[in-house]
């Protein structure tokens, strides 16, 4: 649900960066999203298309780089991604601990004409 307000922030940011550089048209925006943020890329894309109308970002392609959350096994040190309803190690079954990854949400780059 909160994709609308975060997408507005993203569009504002793209416009600001374009203005700073006197750019007329942004053709691509790359955004990094961590799995743990719960942000849904489909919704962001939908809102982006609407909110960027009549701006330098209108029609720009939105590219997402999704960062998976990672856990480290307390027992064997294996680094793994979660599966549903368990944070346990798929190798030895011991409990994992969240590695600081998966909370990202930032704009990485823009492409311009």
């Amino acid at each position: 649900m909160h994709e609308l307000s975060v997408t507005q922030s993203l569009v504002d940011m793209v416009i600001e960066e374009a203005q700073k550089r006197n750019l007329k048209k942004v053709t691509k925006v790359t955004v990094v999203i961590g799995e743990l943020t719960g942000l849904e890329s489909e919704s962001i894309k939908f809102y982006f298309d609407v909110l960027s109308e009549n701006t330098v970002a209108e029609g720009a392609e939105l590219v997402f780089k999704i960062v998976k959350a990672q856990f480290k096994c307390r027992q064997c040190g294996n680094i793994f991604e979660r599966t549903n309803f368990t944070f346990n190690c798929p190798v030895c079954g011991a409990t994992g601990v969240l590695v600081d990854k998966g909370k990202e949400f930032y704009m990485e780059s823009i492409e311009v004409e």
């Binding site: 975060v6 922030s9 743990l36 719960g38 944070f87 930032y106 704009m107």
Partner: protein, 218 residues
């Protein structure tokens, strides 16, 4: 086609205001606690019970989509309260808390922010609070840490409410707490019932210590 690398936090506008809120509340000697939980988890009754048990003066910032039912409950008990109606938004943002803080005539104590009932969106927005408190409850099930990990990752306290309902629900405490520990190794756990008052003595003692430490640190 030229690619320009610009790394910017999408939420920076919110974070800047959150930073300002932190300065405001620090100047006013306020420890600010952001209460996040699902609709019906008992946020309002939790806050009321907590205030009953705390020896430190308290005030409340009430976030709600449209109503002022919760704020009226606070006002009836002479608790200083400011209502924020988000008008449909699923979370509080730093801007709305900024306005609320400025209109709240209260210093030297604890301010509870009752966020909008939702486990996802409020977790993503910094408000300038000292910490987030995750309020789960027995009746909503033991799988919440697995379904909504961000909240439990960020929380500095996890409270399990409606503990008196434990005999009537299949709530696997081990599964619940194991999930949280995987996400957050330090966070303290509390078990309470806002209905009976059970567990609030321990919670209030912990929060008072936090408050006094906060005051000493300045």
């Amino acid at each position: 086609m030229d690619e320009i690398v610009i790394i910017r936090d999408v939420l920076e506008a919110n974070n800047n205001v959150a930073h300002e809120n932190k300065t405001i509340k620090d100047e006013r000697n306020i420890l600010m606690v952001n209460i996040i939980g699902s609709p019906g988890t008992g946020k309002t009754s939790f806050i009321l019970r907590a205030i009953e048990n705390l020896k430190v003066p308290c005030a409340v910032i009430e976030g709600d989509v449209t109503s002022d039912i919760d704020a009226r409950k606070m006002a009836e008990r002479n608790i200083p309260v400011v209502q924020i109606n988000t008008g449909g938004s699923c979370h509080l943002n730093a801007g709305s808390v900024n306005r609320a803080l400025k209109s709240l005539s209260f210093d030297n104590g604890i301010v509870f922010i009752e966020n909008v009932g939702n486990l996802i969106c409020p977790s993503g927005f910094e408000l300038g609070e000292d910490f987030k408190l995750a309020l789960a409850n027995v009746t909503e099930g033991d799988d919440k840490p697995y379904k909504y990990p961000l909240l439990f990752t960020k929380a500095k306290a996890v409270v399990l409410n409606k503990i008196d309902m434990l005999p009537y629900f299949e709530f696997d405490k081990k599964f619940f707490y194991d999930g949280i520990r995987a996400l957050n190794q330090e966070v303290p756990f509390f078990e309470v019932s806002a209905r009976t008052g059970e567990g609030f003595g321990e919670f209030a003692k912990w929060l008072e210590e936090k408050y006094y430490k906060f005051r000493q640190s300045k």
